[in-house]
Subunit: 354 residues, 2 copies
């Protein structure tokens, strides 16, 4: 749960207000809900870290102190099956990635299923098999599980909540508050593939070229990046809210601005075309197999080369830099020399994308 | 996810079958679903341990090997608020207890919320505040969270999936397969309170005396029990499926039978009366603040005394013993000298009890 930023909206109406779809969007409304309701009650130093996972001391395990990382996500993607993946592979990869984004080695997953009465066992088996395959690929076993069933009309087929636990090697310190002016901003590949794949399937659109979700476990890529010894300040996977929300989160946590070069941001032509049609900006669209890295400028070329050498980041690119900006704006310079501010999603363009 | 036992039902129809409410009951249908679908795909040595939590090596944390325990549960209780608790306190206590039942010290919780569009923020705030209070009482912070929102009619107010992580001190080895003939069977207090409190609220029944859920975190009680040095073989909280399901699970895992004395099993008179009215057996009804312990007979009196000295187990009782039985039956001797078999729930008497 990330820190709030520039929320000019009125405070949540905790007496008469209702949950609306924007509270799940990854945008400002969700940040506000987390800050004003969840953090207000549950707040503690770990929850307040505001990264993809919490870094936790493991005081009882060793003579020297160890650190655990823990991260959780519920998955409610609709439809359950989409080009390139399904809710099962997504639930594994999404949580493996959140642990990996802390620089940690993901070790174990748990999975809790909420099934709707009447859901076909054949579809459930297909989802669980896909989950098992994704867990094998990532090298992270599902070690604990639970199943609950709710009446027809009280759920939607299947929801899967996964939690990941990993260990953080000594000396690694990666987090959203470590970006500094002058740092380089890198992305591991094309933006928007997952969200557009899901939306296309939902709207029954088809395009000339197939659009597939990029869902993938990034723990191997992160290990390769760490092995370079580059000074990596932040790692984050741009899921709900896309690149725009993720960079705004980092800017707010670090108290910096960012300047991106639009032509440098990889977007597949077919995804760009689909976004035009759907009225979306690819920078607001969820990714499920990509990461953003902020690193010391001097290490950027070395880190980029290591990324491009990994099968999951062949199209990695240096897309901008961190700048000093008390307004903490994320800006974009366009091919034509203009500039625009890359803002959070205001409402809820993309419900149930993950 | 516990091991299957004496399932004479035909195999699941994975081609044309559907999820039904019994698959969430904690009874045989659920065990069958776990065995034939989940374990078949996801199976590994950790998931196959069949206890409330998985015991995990933590190889990277220390010179000497540490062990983690991880456990997860989704909570879908209906109604969300019931006498003695709500889904928030239940979600904390249920998962703290699953970790504690391994003999581990629960350290951290994660919580993932699936909210239904239109749910009142005031109720959500009440639930989260209750969760925070339960976490403080248990001494286990919520360190990672997630919120998703689904459309009206695709959820039911709020579902909460919690995952707990704890550490297992050296030398502790507690599990469902360790019961041996001659061992004593103890319960920490009255059976059936939680399930009857929820059902009464659901059916709008009221009784002469109030019936309240027993929801409570048992990590402190477990610590007091471990401190006695008694040889505790198994600890388990009898939630879905109640005492009957839990003892049948242990009997199956250990390859033993059990003989219980019905008059020794604590059931509050008002709960017994409500069960009569609702057509329930208190031994099949869920508890959320009770545990079952199997221990070496020689240590039973000492363990029982320690339990009775703890505020959450004042009514603890020695209710029976483990016997050799190749059929792995759990039997009950009645006050009148008769005997009956205490079986799993066949169908789904108590949907959405936790």
């Amino acid at each position: 749960m990330a820190a709030a930023k520039r929320v000019h909206a009125p405070a949540l109406d905790l007496q008469h207000g209702k949950v609306d779809m924007s509270h799940g969007s990854g945008g400002r409304a969700m940040v506000q809900l987390v800050a004003e309701l969840f953090a207000r009650h549950l707040g503690n130093a770990y929850l307040g870290q505001g990264n993809d996972g919490a870094v936790l001391p493991a005081p009882l395990l060793a003579g020297r102190p160890g650190r655990l990382v823990m991260s959780t996500d519920s998955h409610v993607v609709s439809p359950l099956f989409f080009p390139g993946g399904d809710i099962g592979s997504l639930a594994v990869n999404g949580t493996v990635n959140d642990v990996a984004m802390m620089g940690a080695t993901p070790l174990y997953l748990s999975a809790a299923f909420i099934l709707e009465e009447g859901f076909a066992l054949a579809e459930l088996a297909r989802i669980v098999a896909s989950m098992a395959q994704a867990a094998r690929t990532a090298g992270v076993p599902v070690v604990s599980g639970d199943t609950k069933v709710v009446e027809r009309g009280k759920g939607d087929g299947v929801f899967i909540s996964t939690t990941g636990v990993g260990v953080l090697p000594q000396g690694i310190d990666i987090g959203g508050s470590r970006a500094r002016p002058g740092d380089a901003v890198l992305v591991s590949g094309s933006m928007g593939d997952h969200g557009v794949a899901v939306m296309s399937r939902r709207e029954n659109l088809s395009f000339e070229a197939p659009i597939e979700s990029d869902t993938a476990a990034l723990n191997g890529l992160v290990a390769a990046m760490l092995a370079t010894g580059a000074d990596i300040r932040c790692l984050r996977d741009p899921t709900r809210g896309g690149l725009a929300a993720t960079l705004n989160e980092i800017a707010a946590q670090s108290g910096v601005g960012m300047m991106l070069r639009e032509p440098a941001i990889p977007v597949k032509p077919v995804v760009a075309a689909a976004c035009e049609l759907l009225g979306l900006d690819p920078l607001n669209v969820a990714n499920e197999g990509k990461l953003i890295a902020v690193c010391a400028a001097a290490d950027a070329a070395r880190l980029l080369a290591a990324m491009q050498a990994h099968p999951l980041a062949r199209d990695a690119a240096l897309v901008g830099e961190v700048i000093a900006d008390t307004h903490q704006f994320v800006q974009l310079s366009t091919a034509l020399g203009g500039r625009r501010i890359v803002d959070w999603l205001a409402g809820d363009q993309l419900p149930r994308i993950c």
